[in-house]
């Protein structure tokens, strides 16, 4: 009896020990992350104060905070952030819609996809920043140009990924639809589209970052507002605090986007029980 109890006891404690070790590991990772961040800030601040680096060129945490407060005071901070967010989200959504539409057409017509394949590959490899000056000439300076720049960076890779995902669906599953009396449209809506959700989600995660890259390129060249504009303006008037503040804000935005997409992905996966 006693022996049995003690065995169960040790098993329970082993399970507990495993859980504890697992939690400790996660706490350690989280605290090291914070420590790294705090250490970087402190080193940066101290180096600037001690004159190891020139805070005119390299700024410092306190200068960044000061800059943020100043931008808040003239109400331009939220305008710049808002504009960049709006343009990025709009580009991202348009990229998603256009990619789904184009890759659907490519899936329907093997001939068209074979014809277009080399063009897609070339357009995908082309550095899109090279196109930005053209967009300005064609579309003028303004939101349209910036959104087109945002779309151009993510679009072609996204189409290729979606189309590849569509093609990779198990052909036997498509045969099943035909044996049940379905046609190509049924194969697409019942198998190809729902079966490609995972690859579409992972492509989407990349796309939001690429859309942000495109929007900043666009704002560099063709904007009066937005974080990209703030960076260019700051560098031209040698207010490098503004540049570095904008970059830090971009870091926060990128992190926010990543978390947002992760959250949406999580919800879709729960809904589809994947």
């Amino acid at each position: 009896m006693n022996a049995k109890f003690s065995r169960a006891d040790t098993e329970l404690t082993r399970q507990e020990a495993f859980v504890r070790a697992h939690k400790r590991h996660h706490h350690q990772v989280a605290s090291f992350r914070l420590l790294l961040f705090a250490g970087f800030l402190i080193l940066w601040e101290v180096s600037a104060d001690m004159g190891w680096i020139d805070s005119f060129f390299f700024s410092s945490p306190s200068r960044v905070v000061h800059c943020v407060i100043q931008l808040c005071k003239d109400h331009s901070l939220f305008l710049h952030i808002g504009i960049t967010l709006f343009e990025t989200i709009l580009s991202f959504l348009l990229v998603f819609l256009i990619s789904v539409a184009v890759s659907t057409v490519l899936w329907y017509s093997t001939r068209l996809s074979e014809v277009l394949e080399p063009y897609l590959v070339i357009l995908n490899s082309l550095p899109k920043s090279a196109l930005a000056p053209l967009f300005i000439v064609w579309l003028g300076t303004g939101t349209t140009t910036i959104i087109v720049a945002g779309i151009s960076v993510a679009l072609f890779g996204s189409i290729i990924s979606f189309y590849t995902g569509f093609r990779q669906v198990d052909p036997e599953k498509i045969t099943l639809i035909y044996t049940l009396g379905g046609n190509k449209k049924d194969a697409f809506t019942k198998v190809v589209l729902p079966g490609s959700v995972p690859i579409m989600l992972s492509t989407t995660k990349v796309n939001i970052g690429l859309a942000l890259v495109g929007v900043i390129i666009g704002e560099f060249l063709a904007a009066r507002r937005g974080l990209g504009y703030l960076i260019i303006y700051g560098s031209q008037v040698f207010q490098l605090d503004k540049v570095i503040t904008s970059i830090i804000l971009l870091c926060i935005i990128a992190f926010g986007f990543y978390k947002g997409i992760q959250c949406i992905e999580h919800h879709i996966k729960i809904k589809l029980k994947m």
Binding site: D170, E172, K173, T175, L176, I177, Y178, T179, L180, G181, G182, D186, K190, V191, P194, G195, V197, L272, K273, M274
Partner: protein, 269 residues
């Protein structure tokens, strides 16, 4: 009344590629009677699936004809239900939404059809799993769900393309007997492809043996087993089983014809 409800006459089919022509089927002729279970066996890669696709109407034969004699005298091609090698239940749908997939595609979500599906779910013990995902079902239950999906459209002729080959051996023995028992109850006609000789003998009324590529019908062997009890594996314990197995093996491996028919008194279990 004609003997066969479906008769294949000199069916031929070739695959074409830039490397040349591959003749898959050559001069295939055999018939299927109403309510009969026919098993097609043959060496792997001999074109069994091609043959089934032709019968299902997914491929059009290059040579030969298929003659239809419906019992009611009508001329339409019999409604075909096809079961593939894997159950292919979609993980993004519940079990219920999987079994009504065919009805959904054919816009036949009528009360009558759905009642039939619900009755099958109850009869096959899947009713309590209707809102579960396919991954939560056992191998046997998945096959039952795939069978309901096939039966939902009310097919007259069922085609099974090695439907149990993805299962492990033990599950396969039980599931194949179970599924065929359920199909027998529906009194439908069935053609099953298998490379498992014991499966063919235990399930079918007649075995059609194909040769290697290009496939022709080597021999047709009617099966009559004396069943000792009504357990799922009874067919495999029938006294004639081993005999049939040796005969099929001989026909498949040697280029011979398998000698004369088995002279044995017939007991139908």
């Amino acid at each position: 009344m004609p003997e066969f409800i479906l008769e294949l006459k000199k069916i031929g089919y070739s695959y074409h590629s830039m490397h040349g022509e591959i003749q898959a089927l050559e001069d295939i002729s055999f018939g299927v009677r109403e309510g009969e279970f026919v098993a097609i066996v043959g060496p792997s890669g001999c074109g069994k699936t091609t043959l089934l696709s032709i019968i299902a109407g997914l491929l059009i034969p290059e040579k030969g004809t298929i003659v239809v004699n419906n019992p009611d005298g009508s001329l339409h091609y019999p409604k075909v239900g096809y079961m593939l090698q894997h159950d292919h239940l979609f993980e993004w749908r519940t079990v219920y939404r999987n079994v009504i997939l065919g009805l959904e595609i054919n816009h036949q979500l009528t009360e009558e059809r759905l009642d039939y599906v619900n009755q099958l779910l109850i009869d096959y013990g899947l009713d309590q799993f209707r809102d579960k995902r396919p991954s939560e079902l056992s191998g046997g239950m998945k096959q039952r769900a795939a069978l309901i999906r096939t039966l939902a459209l009310g097919p007259q002729l069922l085609l099974l393309d090695e439907p149990f080959s993805a299962l492990d051996y033990q599950t396969r023995l039980m599931v194949s007997a179970d599924i065929c028992h359920l199909i027998r109850q529906t009194k439908k006609t069935m053609i099953i492809i298998t490379h498992d000789l014991s499966e063919a003998i235990s399930l079918a009324d007649r075995v059609v043996i194909l040769s290697g590529r290009p496939a022709t019908v080597k021999k047709e062997l009617p099966i009559h087993l004396t069943l000792q009890d009504d357990s799922l594996l009874a067919a495999r314990h029938a006294p004639e089983f081993q005999d049939y197995f040796s005969r099929l093996w001989e026909v498949l491996t040697n280029e011979g014809t398998g000698g004369e028919e088995i002279e044995r008194k017939v007991f139908q279990g």
